[in-house]
Symmetry: C2
Subunit: 293 residues, 2 copies
């Protein structure tokens, strides 16, 4: 069965493994700290690729940052990656084509093929971590927009200029719905600048009413975004993913979304393709592209 | 050249004419007051159709309300149409297939084929009137979602529950960006409950600084939605349409959107397919469907 060497490149860690065309992970996950400059990232990738490229059919990278529609490189920089990373010529890393996709898009594709949105044609996946990522599947295809940058979950949820988003704009969904947003909500409600998202989640588990209030306000902000996406896309399912997504109450969110939307009922589900869904999705996309090429 | 008999069915007026496959209007526009009950609407349509059906190749209807993906009927009711209208069996009106599309979707298609978004693959059209309508073209196709109801511009712009939208939810884009929203903004700023959108537009033209303040605040709300849509869809162009859309400053909006989005630069343009773009778009879609059928 055809298989791909796959990477997940983030701001703090780089992961690598091999996957087959059913999305099964075939080898041990290798884990590296993300080097502090772009050339060292390139060297790290090149080193791993040189070891495996002759034994795989495709090479695929799930990465932070927007990826072009040709899946060959990045469109621009992201704040948590070293300067110059966006100019990396990934195609020079191997004699084989190196297939690149945005990490949230790749993870959404894994959910579509083997996870929570399997069997649907229209889905939106949101990844709640330090920030908020998005991946949109329309009519069984990853939606990328005119350049490849679509699916950025930066839409305004307020107009009071209280929170500035990492994107530079005010009042974005991301700065309310992310883990960063949860911490800010906790600070606002408790007045404690040192409070962490862990404190909130832990307090919630221990029936701390203040922490429950913080959590619920955060979840209401997340809900507001789901309502908008339900009305704009009329999807079959919205998938909740990421380290912070696992704490959400998908049954509550599904009920509330369906009370408010003017389109047709949708499902809200937790992601189920696992922690390495970015690598799996990138691998699946790269292997599928071989058949289409 | 093939031609279609076309209708535009709204809450107050019904229009009818014939168009060819280039989107050219071929006959005088007929205009009727929308009857107060659903059976009378059906009778009116049937009467016009019986006169023209033998001399046209297709029959097309642009209508208020969400239309199914088969373009055969409505998915549900809208507030401004008579009770039961949504159950109309349009296919019984003629021996020919009667092609139905939502009016904003049809108008977006006219812009895509002969208007402001001609030559682009990815566009979002917003119609600013009493409410806000939306039509989304992705990869040269009208985007309709799983059921046909996609493109509803009901996403939250606030969370303060000050304005309830016609959709029943609080804080929607529509209740800020619509003509209704402009009137509410004017009431809030001036304290005058009797102020009209005409007063605002007229005051703006006469350099009334208070009316300019009202208008600008309304336009900022519209801008906030454009930023979100730019980030979510990464479109080539956002088209501003409708009776209230003509007053917007598209150059200002384009500059500001491009300052704030994290995707790639887009254009903001006024609609250019004319007042009957709904009928034209519905006619074009119906005639195109003949070729694909």
């Amino acid at each position: 069965m055809k298989k791909a060497l796959v990477f997940d490149i983030g701001g703090t860690k780089i992961y690598s493994t091999t996957v087959d065309k059913n999305g099964k992970i075939l080898s041990e996950i290798e884990k590296f700290s993300t080097p502090k400059n772009a050339d060292e990232i390139k060297d790290l990738l090149k080193n791993v690729i040189s070891k495996y490229e002759n034994s795989v059919d495709a090479i695929a990278i799930a990465t932070a940052g927007a990826v072009n529609n040709e899946n060959t490189g990045l469109l621009g920089s992201t704040g948590n990656m070293p300067a110059g990373y966006e100019k990396t010529d990934f195609q020079l890393l191997s004699k084989k084509k190196v297939y690149i996709e945005n990490d949230a898009n790749a993870a959404a594709w894994a959910e579509h093929k083997i996870g929570a949105s399997k069997g649907t044609k229209y889905s939106v996946m949101l990844t709640f971590g330090t920030g908020v990522g998005g991946g949109i599947i329309l009519d069984n295809k990853l939606y990328k927009g005119k350049s490849g940058a679509a699916g950025e979950m930066h839409f305004k949820l307020r107009n009071d200029k209280k929170r500035k988003c990492t994107c530079g704009a005010w009042d974005c969904y991301e700065i309310y719905a992310s883990g960063t947003g949860l911490k800010l909500t906790a600070e606002e409600i408790t007045g404690n600048k040192d409070i962490t998202t862990y404190d909130v989640i832990n307090g919630l588990k221990n029936s701390d009413s203040k922490m429950a209030e913080v959590f619920n306000r955060w979840q209401e902000d997340i809900l507001d975004g789901l309502i908008g996406l339900g009305n704009i896309f009329d999807p079959e399912v919205i998938v909740l993913s990421g380290s912070m997504g696992e704490f959400l109450d998908e049954k509550y969110l599904e009920d509330e979304v369906n009370k408010e939307i003017v389109t047709t009922p949708l499902k809200v589900k937790k992601a189920s393709a696992g922690n390495y869904s970015g690598m799996i999705g990138a691998g699946l996309l790269a292997l599928e592209s071989l058949n289409n090429g």
